[in-house]
Symmetry: C2
Subunit: 149 residues, 2 copies
């Protein structure tokens, strides 16, 4: 991600905070700064750990609270990879996509498929649902895990 894109993203979030009458704090800054350097998928726990590793002291509670704001702002979204923990992904980096998850090694492969997307919209229309979001997750064994068995 280019520097000007990062800056743009930070501005977006700052604008969101301002619009909502929320403050722009050093912790929120550290979180959004850190976000773009993270892997594409993370949960609250891995996020807290990676912040601590970089000596950015942000409490767990603040991470949870800020993750909520980032989701509201549309900068991250929750994806149903794991049911016991909330998984997030950064949406700023790419266009909308879906996931293939290997049940053995946990690898996540992202994909984009126009035909699939279009069919989903058709289905929503057919059932008179005013669609706001959707998720597709395909689970199985990736090539190398499949060969090992």
């Amino acid at each position: 991600m280019k520097k000007n894109e990062i800056d743009q993203l930070k501005l977006n979030f700052q604008q969101y905070l301002k619009d909502k009458g929320l403050a722009c704090t050093s912790q929120r800054d550290a979180i959004i700064e850190h976000l773009v350097k993270e892997t594409s998928h993370f949960n609250a726990d891995t996020f807290v750990h990676s912040l601590q590793k970089k000596h950015l002291p942000v409490s767990r509670a603040t991470v949870y609270r800020t993750l909520q704001h980032l989701e509201d702002a549309g900068i991250i979204r929750e994806v149903a990879i794991n049911t016991s923990q909330a998984y997030y992904e950064f949406t700023g980096r790419t266009t909308h996509h879906e996931h293939l998850v290997c049940e053995n090694c946990g690898t996540i492969i992202e994909f984009v498929d126009d035909q699939l997307e279009e069919r989903i919209e058709q289905i929503a229309r057919l059932h008179h649902l005013s669609i706001t979001r959707h998720t597709v997750q395909i689970s199985g064994y990736c090539r190398s895990c499949h060969e090992k068995q």
Copy 2:
């Protein structure tokens, strides 16, 4: 669901238990018996409550443990409707289907779409994933909730 189908389902589960060297207890019997009379979607908590309402005394711990067995046996499956609680649905009743969920009233509409299913299988093949399962969830506002706003 017809009586002989219910009996068949119970036999399936009993066979599964036997194969695994597990015991067939009155609690497990009560749970599977109750399952077919439940609404199509439920979670551990609603399940415990509805058992208690029918004066079937099964502890919460046993419900959790048995739900796990039922999932292993393929009689129920976990669906990612709600992230903070595990949601299950009974698979014996219908063929494979996906979900439309109203974000406002929580209504769940099930649908089957061959075109969508086929595309998902193609995508898995394309990425060399040996597919074991998949979920599609479309969220938005149902017709009546959309009109109210």
